[in-house]
């Protein structure tokens, strides 16, 4: 059974990565077509760095993705704790609201948000309200549900006595959160943040309607290339981005692994002498 599962998981990963391989190979192709490899070249990478238009857009995308996932994580974690403390009926109500952005087709969310922003703009008498802020707000809005949905289960898994104990020992609620709760729900927070980051980095439909002409993100720009074929330098950008994200994720993983080792050591120490709980 085990070898079957192993092989099968390998196949699943292969399935997920085949298109990446295809695009990475295409970035070294001398021809423009993805489906036929004509010769090896690094020219597309040179073209990418010579032409200054795409890299700033990528930087914009990363800025929005990082900021929006950070904001959504903070806001969403707080919300999840609030929701966790709610009664069943209000909890159900809030969770229904949380599901709305997920069920609404993106284009509808995009257009309705754009209309809302434009309306606020006319109230404030600004005719170019669309820009970095509106883009960030929209991204936070569609990121929030993912954070909440990944933090809530961790909260319900947590032993409520832990927090009570911390409070009894003289912690302020904030200290109790900082010293106890966050450690318990950290995996949920991290996966929520990662999810939010990924959603935000690749969004083009909602972004399309709420971006401002002074702050364009990469997926929006790529989506506009419909009249002409994609220039192969896009594939080079794709490959580079893939490598960068891979590196960041591996780095985060290693750091987290180190943290966990410390934590495990601390836990062992704690178990050794329970009275040494300090506040």
């Amino acid at each position: 059974m085990k070898w079957f599962n192993k092989g099968f998981t390998g196949l699943v990963l292969l399935f997920l990565y085949i298109p990446m391989i295809v695009l990475a190979v295409a970035s070294f192709n001398t021809g423009t077509s993805v489906s036929s490899f004509q010769g090896f070249t690094l020219e597309q990478y040179g073209e990418l760095f010579r032409d200054g238009t795409l890299l700033p857009l990528l930087a914009n995308s990363l800025i929005v993705a990082v900021l929006s996932s950070l904001c959504a994580t903070v806001l969403g974690t707080a919300a999840a704790m609030g929701i966790h403390a709610m009664g069943q009926r209000s909890r159900r109500l809030v969770m229904t609201m949380t599901n709305i952005p997920m069920t609404n087709p993106e284009i509808v969310t995009g257009v309705s948000l754009a209309l809302l922003f434009a309306f606020i703009g006319t109230l404030m008498k600004v005719n170019d309200i669309l820009g970095f802020t509106t883009l960030l707000i929209a991204h936070i809005t569609f990121n929030l549900p993912y954070v909440i949905l990944s933090v809530t289960p961790k909260l319900s898994q947590m032993d409520p006595n832990l927090r009570e104990a911390a409070l009894d020992l003289g912690c302020t609620p904030f200290q109790a959160f900082y010293k106890v709760v966050i450690h318990e729900i950290l995996p949920g927070i991290i996966s929520g943040a990662l999810m939010a980051f990924t959603m935000s980095l690749d969004d083009f439909v909602i972004s399309y309607f709420v971006y401002g002409p002074r702050f364009v993100t990469l997926p929006v720009e790529i989506y506009n290339y419909t009249k002409k074929p994609l220039h192969p330098k896009i594939y080079a950008l794709f490959t580079l981005l893939f490598l960068v994200i891979l590196l960041v994720m591996v780095a985060m993983n290693l750091l987290q692994a180190r943290d966990e080792k410390h934590k495990a050591a601390a836990k062992r120490a704690l178990r050794g002498g329970r009275r040494s709980v300090q506040v």
Binding site: G31, T32, S33, V34, S35, S36, E47, R50, D51, T53, P56, A59, L62, I63, V66, L67, L70, V111, A114, L115, F117, A118, G121, T122, N127, D128, I129, L130, G131, T134, H183, Y208, F209, G212, P213, R214, V216, E221, Y223, N224, Y225, T226, K227, K228, P229, L230, H231, K233, A251, M252, L255, Q256, R258, D259, H262, K263
Partner: protein, 401 residues
């Protein structure tokens, strides 16, 4: 935990730094926002001119360049508001619409002296009869691109090539109702700007006839599919054909004898523009024959000015596809702006064509579908209630144990 926090702090700092950079860099000079089709300007790729950089160098005005994927999304963004643009480059019929809805500024031609180089043929157009709002950027024709290896020359020359059963499954078609209907209307001898329901329905029926033969309704993918011979015949723009033929020399282009669409994409200034004079300077710059020549040589579309053609490589300036003879050009027809109701009717017919559900007479089927819908909802609700009931029972059982 600590290293994780440090890492996050570092990440935040890096991001904030990046966010601040563009702010401090672009403080003083005048900036205009240009809104154009994606990949529709020479941007320095493959050794061609970088038009926007050249403009900044010549005038000191910075260009903030943004793109759209279709006339309609551009319109949606202009209409919903919330952002302002200085120069937009839509197509003919969309300009007509924008003029009708009073969304464009009148141009001050004193600031656009290079307008003199624009040929008379592209002035006094049907969408802007008094030349008050727009300056042509490019023009081009729609025709049929086919692969000479597979398509018999005898079948070429008319729109009916795209209806030819011999090439079933190897035909591509436009994935937008306006261009697709125009092809069918021209084949049927109907005016491409028709607003009559019967005409639209006739065209839709013609397109429905074609639907089983069509491999796919596509736009940008025409390039890939024609170049690697996945498809053999497709209608598209002449300028794009010239690019495709460089990759696959077996491709050829034909002007359908029934007539074809001749489009003009033109530069306009929308209402709410922040810096009209700078915008006009930009339009003027793009009309400069030398710039225009270099830009369009990269784009492959045709130049609206004879003066510009003189700066081009003579071979491309006299290319019979890009600059067809007077006789052929006489067959070209341009799109006018259609009222919203006509567009909506065309769009719903188009959907029926694509799904293969074009009904001879709407009404009967509509009611039928509604009944089915209601029935489906009822079934769902019943299932829902049943499941809930059984669930409750289960819970009750659990309780008794």
């Amino acid at each position: 935990m600590k290293s994780m926090k440090k890492f996050l702090a570092f990440l935040c700092a890096a991001v904030l730094l990046c966010a601040c950079l563009p702010l401090s860099a672009g403080a003083e000079p005048v900036t205009i926002t240009v809104y154009n089709w994606g990949q529709y300007i020479s941007d320095g790729t493959d050794g061609y001119i970088d038009v926007n950089a050249a403009f900044t160098e010549a005038t000191g005005i910075e260009v903030n360049y943004v793109t759209f994927d279709s006339n309609e999304t551009m319109y949606t963004r202009l209409k919903t508001g919330g952002s302002s643009y200085d120069v937009i480059i839509p197509s003919d019929y969309m300009i007509g619409r924008l003029i009708a809805e009073d969304m464009l500024e009148e141009l001050n031609f004193d600031n656009i002296p290079n307008y003199q180089y624009i040929d008379e043929a592209y002035k006094n157009t049907s969408y802007d009869p008094e030349n008050k709002y727009s300056v042509p950027y490019t023009w081009g024709t729609v025709g049929i691109i086919y692969n000479t290896k597979y398509v018999d020359e005898a079948d070429v020359g008319s729109w009916d090539l795209l209806w030819n059963e011999k090439y079933s499954g190897k035909i591509l078609m436009f994935d937008n109702p306006r261009d697709a209907f125009a092809a069918a209307e021209q084949l049927l001898g109907i005016d491409i700007n028709t607003e009559s329901s019967e005409d639209l329905r006739a065209a839709a029926e013609k397109l429905a006839e074609q639907q089983p033969l069509v491999q796919q309704y596509v736009m940008d993918q025409i390039y890939d599919k024609m170049q690697n011979e996945e498809a053999w015949a497709a209608p598209y723009y002449a300028g794009d054909y010239l690019m495709m033929v460089e990759e696959n020399p077996d491709l050829a282009f034909s002007f359908p004898k029934e007539g074809f669409n001749l489009f003009i994409d033109a530069m306009c200034i929308p209402k709410g523009c922040q810096n009209k004079e700078a915008a006009e300077a930009y339009i003027n710059f793009l009309c400069d024959p030398e710039i225009c020549a270099q830009n369009l040589e990269y784009l492959g579309y045709s130049a609206p000015s004879t003066a510009a053609r003189e700066y081009m490589d003579p071979e491309s300036a006299s290319n019979p596809i890009a600059y067809p003879s007077e006789d052929i050009l006489a067959l070209g027809e341009s799109f006018n702006y259609l009222p919203t109701e006509v567009n909506q009717e065309m769009d719903s017919l188009w959907l029926e064509v694509k799904t293969g559900s074009l009904s001879p007479e709407s009404g009967g089927s509509q009611n039928m579908a509604l009944y089915i819908a209601i029935a489906a909802v009822v079934v769902l609700v019943v299932v829902f209630l049943l499941i809930r009931g059984s669930q409750k029972k289960k819970k009750a059982n659990r309780g008794t144990h």
